[in-house]
Symmetry: C2
Subunit: 242 residues, 2 copies
Amino acid sequence: VSVYLVGAGPGDPGLITVRGLDLIRGCEALVHDRLVAPELVAEAPEDALVVDRSALDQGALNDLLVELGSAGLEVVRLKGGDPFVFGRGGEEALALAEAGIPFEVVPGVSSIAAVPAAADIPVTHRGLADQLTVVTGHRADGSDLDFEALARTRGTVVVFMGLSALDAVAAGLLDAGAEPETPLAIVSRGTLPDQEVVVTTLGEATGAGRRLRGPALIVLGEVVRVRSMLAAAARLAEEVAA
Amino acid sequence: VSVYLVGAGPGDPGLITVRGLDLIRGCEALVHDRLVAPELVAEAPEDALVVDRSALDQGALNDLLVELGSAGLEVVRLKGGDPFVFGRGGEEALALAEAGIPFEVVPGVSSIAAVPAAADIPVTHRGLADQLTVVTGHRADGSDLDFEALARTRGTVVVFMGLSALDAVAAGLLDAGAEPETPLAIVSRGTLPDQEVVVTTLGEATGAGRRLRGPALIVLGEVVRVRSMLAAAARLAEEVAA
């Protein structure tokens, strides 16, 4: 193997995998997303080539990975979350395969469940949700989403990168007949020390993300109630003990 | 914090998080699922209490966690995959909260994306799938699934624990009008040394899981083609180089 496509996890540097950290510590070149934890970038050997990919478009990035791999270096391509969940890791893998560069995917903790978990929200919960749908809200007008199907889907809906699209997503779902009372949480910078959580409903969501910083994830569905159930249970237990 | 609900990842012990492994190494009691890697159970301190929860139903398990937490022990509840993805971690968290036991969820690498990745299948891929739906196939007759909605959903469908339900799921989806040509992969024991992958189509899937061992996951959708695209690209590159 020459190029490892490694998931860095959702933000907290402790949530990288043991194998991912080992590979960073042994690499000769590290090509990382801007948003991965600086603590993880700092784990690369002192003499390793370290490249922040921010300035590179996907084509130039693919070319760089092929070039470094062709030079025989041990390369870690460190990506936020999981490389194969809205991460364009498949495109990087194809570019490497086409160039005959051996590669391996090392999965990471995806934000899908970890960011809701950091807000005390399980994405599935017996009696509340037995299905999970994950979409991305890259376009601010929500034009890439199928609101008719999403409004009718059962279980939990998670919207990746949903901050700029929140108002359009809420309007689209309500227009398509979704219940305004559906609980909705916005989790900003999940798993990081400056994490913020806003809990509201679909009907009240417009503008609720305005003062939050990205990256953020939207959770929609009855599972959002688990957060307040947990808080209420803990409060009650404290009162009983007092 | 007294009880940590820790995700062990999809199978490969190297895919636990750094934080999860640190907690195991420092715990006083470890309560683990039968299916977590024995290498991880072996990381608990020699004098730690180690309990395989196989013999306990969910109620008895919740009671045990509360009891250990009440005794002031540092407890790790080690669960396969991620505690909050079809893992009933929410129920354990509620039991702890109700008893006034401080707890923390430490997410893990879920099988959702990691097991398909181990079979060279990204669950999302530009131009092939921009949406992911995850369901569980616990009931062998598939009676817990909404086939009408799943047959029409766009993007990738992942069926957790789907081996025993495969035939019923395939029949249900075909009855509901899903395309028989839809690519389908079954990944058995994903990320483990004895992983097996079967690639077929929805129309041909009946019986395809018969000789496989669990746990297994079913991936349905165009993204399954990336596996053969990667293999073909690598073969072609090898021929060009030869």
